[in-house]
């Protein structure tokens, strides 16, 4: 049971990493002059959309937290709308935090906002897929010993890794190397992406190695 679950997680996460690779390499065949550094905004959009689509599809296919109750169609719609609002709110919140960290307030708004959307895709969207629009559950998952399934552990790891990646990505900005990837927000978004991919790969391995210690409270 446990082993099979971990294997499913690994497959899902590898698919996620693959989606990012595809989002980076794929568009070059369709769009002229596409490159991650040159047309960074396009890449941000493509990457966010790819990751988001894949996550939603995986959620629908794997159904890690299957509800036994059959719910009405209206309920589902309202839930979906709620999710959309939450996603938008989290993008705004990330944007605000990034500006508080020192990003320019008026210039480069599009860049900053798309970076915030990318971060939301890596973190909030997964939460929404897994936990639904339920803030209390989010707080539970992101506190110590709060995870209740390997999916939640994986969520913890990938989210923390992507945010840490973005955090570390800001380091090279003040260096005077004048490289194209030092331009705002390229280093941060690349950092977040690498962090996310690292998280996707680390999570199943970490769960596999710590499977003895991991005792999930569940019901």
């Amino acid at each position: 049971m446990r082993e099979a679950e971990v294997r499913r997680l690994l497959a899902a996460n590898l698919l996620g990493a693959l989606a990012i690779v595809l989002a980076t390499l794929g568009p070059a065949f369709f769009l002229d002059g596409f490159s991650v550094l040159g047309t960074h905004l396009t890449w941000l959009c493509v990457c966010s959309v790819c990751v988001a689509t894949l996550n939603i599809i995986l959620h629908l296919v794997l159904k890690p937290n299957q509800s036994l109750k059959r719910r009405s169609f209206g309920h589902k719609i309202s839930r979906f709308l709620k999710c959309c609002i939450y996603f938008f709110m989290s993008s705004i919140l990330f944007h605000a935090i990034i500006v508080l960290y020192g990003a320019p307030l008026i210039e480069l708004v599009t860049e900053t906002f798309l970076f915030a959307v990318l971060l939301s895709t890596f973190t909030t969207l997964q939460c929404l897929c897994l936990l639904g629009p339920n803030i209390q559950a989010w707080i539970r998952v992101f506190s110590k010993n709060g995870a209740m399934s390997i999916w939640e552990s994986s969520l913890q790891i990938t989210s923390v890794c992507s945010i840490l990646g973005a955090w570390f990505g800001a380091f090279p900005i003040p260096l005077d190397w004048d490289r194209p990837w030092q331009v705002w927000p390229i280093s941060c978004s690349l950092g977040a992406t690498f962090g996310y991919m690292a998280g996707l790969i680390i999570a199943p391995l970490w769960i596999h190695w710590n499977r003895k210690q991991l005792t999930y409270k569940s019901r």
Binding site: P64, N65, Q66, K69, L100, G102, A170, I173, D176, R219
Partner: protein, 992 residues
């Protein structure tokens, strides 16, 4: 065996004092006072003759210094004249006459590169001696003693030239009794734009008519003042440049009119001592600060047909050699400059060769005096070759060979000479950075030993009792101690007798040196005994295992990672230039982590309870694993549980909870606002910020409003814990601050319209000083009372707070008006943090100390400081003073610069002494942590700087930072002494 008990506060302060000594020694070694100047009397060696032509019978008759090329020379030095003010669009617009002379007239124009530090006094020295003054000249910039090196002015005076000087009185101090006539103006009142220059110009008409002078030097300060106050793009720059243009026109026309009367032409030199950065300050090495125009205008030069392309780059030091040749004087011995050849291009080939030979001879002699292996220097070799071919050329010349071939050959020799000069001067410039390695090493050893001792004693110092037992004379260590002393003394003697260059530590009296050596050995023994202690304790715990259940919270991880990361970042020049970004980044992250901590505390308080957790776990376990992946109802369940948890907990209730949750966000917003108040650093310093917007003249009313509101806020934030008398004094003092700023013209009163005469505001400033002293005195009195009578601790905390508010008032007086919001936000953040974060979350003293330190560092940069010398606001040292008085000026400037870290440290003291009821050792822990936080970066940085001493940016980036770090250590040592004094009081009470 005698053992001494030592509290951690006392221990930390004494460690920091020793470290301050080490830092002082290191700084003395790192910034050596230049030793290469030969006393002037010896400097009057005979000038070299022309190289002798090979073969017998032929001797050149040119053995003396060549005669002057110019009769009268006028040097117009315009302070902070940047190259684009003359050659750029600004020059074309505002300096039409000069532009015309540059493009079509008889002139040569260059861009002279100044070496950092781009501050006036070192630049004057460079211009007149041709040498590159050491960095330490900045420190003595305000208090310039007479220049003792060989220099152009002295040479001119000895040669009987009559020199007249008008302008910056730095010159008068540098060259006392050198001028036959002078009028010095002081440059310290930066807000004066017109009078400083009128004081110079008023003499001009009279002097230009007279014939009784040979060298006239004018130093105009107005442009520099405008730059300091309003920046290079202010509307005031244009009229000032036009004024300068008119002055140049007047001088030039007057010099031209004299040409007919005398045989020799006259020369007008226009130069700047340094430029200005995009913010209008100077001191660093940005392009704008380094590039200055240099114009030679004389009827001797050929008329230019077409406007020249970009002016050529020369070194600022080249002026001294060129002028020496032009005036027929020997070149100053320490000059590393090259003759600027175009200036003498009109002369015959023989003369030109003679000039460059003189220059080359002087440079190679300087090289001989300073490097033992001078013969291997490529510059010296080149020079010797050139000298030889020069001799051959002279032979041909004396033989009467006067053809085209001779001219071409001469050109070839000239080229060889120029090559040699260039190489010589670059290898000499490199030598300027000669380090006194022995003193540096001794300083580093002391600093590192103190750091290791502090680190080793962390567990004991932060224990409950915060006490040490220092073994004073354990037998083994005393033997070791004597052995070490002897070895080190032997090393000292060997090093000092074998050293070639002068060394500060060797030149100290032997008693002092032995004292330092004993100190080093004692510290070493202390370290060894501490290590031995730790090893002993390692064996013991097997018997009584201490439950080390202490787990690392996110805050601890962040604090540790932040400290280490910051220290490591000091190795990169960009990270030093942009250090403010590091601190802003760290405190932002700190706020977010605090936010998470608050969330957890407010929402999940019960879940952290271990008992509860196990209950829940059992509950869950009993349900079994079968439904593990179908836990959709968990959210709902935890929801209700959490609801219960929060409702049952009386941790923080109602609105307080929400304010507490909002606190980190409010602080984050404050920090963001402060960040955009002063753009600092290097890369983004030119970005527009609120500070410049506010200080520009058209926003005076906004600035006045902001200053008034800020002062009001300061009053409300400070007064709540003061006694009534202090409240009244505080309000009057803050009113005084506003009227001081109104008096010197920074802000206006609402009822005031139109221009008002600007004064120095001495009365108003002194009025505020009276209240500052009064409040601090009241506070100290309360403190002493609480110590003697041992009354309740409330009196003590009131006393401390009053001292703190007195310092806040002083900071309010010294800060520029646009920086007053920094003070407001500082107080606001302190108040909010204390009320909603530190007290409710029950952080321990160490964590709170480190947070205070971080915020202090961030506020250092929020107030507009950077790691460059240029941002030090010297004007703070003249608040309320009639003229420059050294001690108060240094004290006030240091206080104004380090106001951020200092105020946070004093606030930490206030906070920790009020915490004493909860944790009796809080002040000791705080003191220890504060000392540790300061000593880690300084120790690592000293090592890094020693390693990077030949880095390209050592003078422009690393050295200023080293000075900042050094001064910060001294200030922290003072703060730690305050801590110890407070701790003392407390322990007395406990004993009673």
């Amino acid at each position: 065996r005698t053992r001494m008990r030592l509290r951690s506060g006392v221990f930390a302060s004494s460690c920091l004092l020793v470290q301050a000594l080490g830092v002082a020694l290191f700084l003395r070694g790192f910034f050596p006072v230049p030793v290469r100047s030969v006393p002037r009397r010896e400097a009057r060696a005979d000038p070299p003759a022309e190289p002798a032509p090979p073969g017998p019978g032929m001797v050149s008759n040119w053995t003396k210094i060549p005669p002057p090329l110019f009769k009268k020379v006028v040097i117009v030095l315009i302070d902070a004249l940047r190259d684009d003010f003359v050659f750029g669009p600004k020059g074309k617009q505002f300096m039409p006459y000069t532009t015309q002379v540059v493009e079509k007239g008889t002139s040569y124009s260059f861009i002279a590169e100044a070496k950092p530090p781009t501050v006036t006094m070192p630049r004057i020295k460079a211009l007149m001696t041709g040498s590159i003054p050491g960095f330490i000249d900045v420190v003595v910039n305000l208090n310039s003693p007479a220049l003792l090196d060989d220099n152009l002015i002295w040479q001119a005076k000895t040669a009987g030239k009559r020199i007249i000087f008008y302008g910056d009185d730095t010159w008068v101090k540098l060259f006392p009794k050198h001028f036959v006539e002078y009028d010095g103006t002081t440059s310290f009142f930066v807000s004066d734009f017109t009078e400083v220059d009128d004081n110079v110009t008023r003499h001009l008409d009279r002097v230009l008519k007279r014939e009784d002078w040979d060298l006239l030097i004018l130093h105009y300060l107005g442009l520099d003042h405008i730059g300091h106050m309003t920046g290079p793009n202010s509307p005031l720059v244009g009229p000032k440049l036009r004024e300068m243009d008119n002055i140049l026109k007047k001088i030039h026309i007057s010099l031209l009119s004299k040409v007919e009367e005398v045989s020799l032409p006259n020369l007008l030199v226009v130069c700047g001592d340094h430029g200005m950065s995009e913010t209008g300050s100077h001191g660093g090495s940005s392009e704008g600060e380094v590039h200055t125009p240099l114009l030679f205008i004389s009827s001797a030069f050929g008329k230019r047909s077409a406007p020249a392309a970009q002016p050529e780059h020369v070194q600022q030091t080249d002026l001294a050699s060129t002028l020496a040749i032009g005036l027929g004087l020997p070149i100053s011995r320490n000059s590393v400059g090259n003759l600027i050849l175009p200036v003498v291009e009109g002369k015959t080939m023989r003369e030109q060769l003679r000039f460059v030979h003189l220059n080359g001879f002087q440079l190679s002699r300087l090289l001989q005096e300073n490097t033992p292996a001078y013969e291997k220097d490529p510059g010296y070799e080149h020079f010797k070759i050139a000298e030889k071919s020069h001799g051959n050329w002279i032979k041909l010349y004396l033989e009467g060979n006067n053809s085209e071939i001779l001219l071409n050959l001469g050109k070839k020799v000239l080229k060889q000479y120029l090559e040699a000069l260039k190489t010589l001067s670059s290898s000499l410039s490199k030598q300027v950075a000669q380090y006194d390695m022995y003193s540096m090493m001794v300083g580093t050893v002391i600093i590192m030993e103190v750091l290791i001792l502090l680190l080793l004693s962390v567990p004991k110092a932060l224990s409950k009792r915060a006490e040490f037992e220092v073994p004073l004379s354990p037998p083994l260590f005393s033997l070791l101690f004597y052995l070490m002393c002897l070895t080190l003394c032997a090393v000292h003697v060997i090093v000092c007798t074998s050293a070639e260059s002068l060394c500060y530590f060797c030149s100290m009296s032997w008693l002092t040196a032995v004292g330092v050596i004993m100190l080093i050995s004692a510290l070493m023994c202390g370290i060894l005994s501490a290590v031995a202690n730790i090893l002993e304790n390692y064996r013991l715990p097997l018997k009584n295992p201490v439950p080390s259940s202490y787990s690392w919270s996110e805050i601890d991880v962040l604090i540790l990672a932040g400290t280490i990361g910051h220290v490591l970042s000091l190795g990169a020049s960009s990270f030093i230039e942009e250090e403010h970004q590091t601190w802003y980044f760290l405190i932002n992250t700190l706020c977010l982590v605090l936010c998470q901590e608050l969330c957890r505390n407010n929402f999940l308080l019960k879940e952290c309870d271990p008992q509860h957790c196990t209950n829940v776990k059992q509950n869950f376990n009993s349900i079994g694993e079968s439904s593990e992946c179908k836990n959709i109802d968990i959210p709902a369940a935890s929801n209700s549980k959490l609801g219960k948890a929060t409702s049952s907990s009386e941790f923080i209730k109602g609105s307080d909870k929400w304010i507490s949750l909002a606190t980190p966000w409010i602080i984050l917003i404050c920090c963001r606002l402060l960040r955009s108040l002063n753009q600092t650093g290097v890369q983004w310093a030119h970005r527009p910020d609120f500070g410049h917007w506010l200080t520009s003249s058209e926003h005076k009313s906004e600035l006045s409003f902001l200053a008034a509101v800020s002062l009001l806020m300061i009053f409300f934030l400070v007064q709540r814990r003061c006694s009534l008398v202090s409240k009244i004094a505080m309000s009057l003092g803050l009113l005084g601050v506003y009227s001081y700023r109104a008096a010197i013209g920074n802000v206006t009163f609402p009822w005031q319209h139109g221009g008002k005469d600007i004064s120095k505001g001495i009365t108003e400033a002194r009025f505020v000083y009276v209240f500052v002293l009064g409040i601090v005195f009241t506070g100290t009195k309360d403190l002493l009372k609480s110590q003697v009578i041992s009354a309740d601790s409330s009196m003590k905390s009131t006393g401390l707070w009053e001292v703190y508010s007195g310092l806040v008032l002083l900071a309010a007086l010294l800060f520029r008006p646009h920086n007053l919001p920094v003070l407001v936000f500082c107080l606001l953040i302190q108040t909010m943090m204390t009320k909603y974060i530190w007290i409710p979350l029950k952080f321990d003293a160490a964590q709170i100390t480190i947070m205070h330190y971080w915020f202090g560092q961030a506020f250092f940069y929020f107030q507009g400081n950077s790691n460059g010398i240029a941002t030090v606001d010297i004007s703070a040292g003249f608040v309320g003073l009639d003229s420059y008085v050294e001690i108060p000026a240094i004290f006030l400037t240091a206080f104004a610069t380090y106001a951020g870290p200092f105020l946070w440290a004093i606030h930490l003291l206030c906070y920790l002494s009020s915490e004493v009821s909860r944790n009796s050792a809080a002040v000791g822990h705080g003191c220890f942590c504060y000392a540790l936080m300061r000593s880690i970066p300084v120790a690592i940085y000293v090592v890094l700087v020693t390693g990077l001493r030949y880095h390209l940016f050592i003078w422009s980036v690393f050295s200023p930072k080293l000075l900042y770090e050094g001064v910060h250590v001294f200030i922290t040592a003072a703060v730690c002494l305050c801590f110890t004094a407070m701790d003392q009081n407390h322990s007395y009470k406990v004993q009673e």
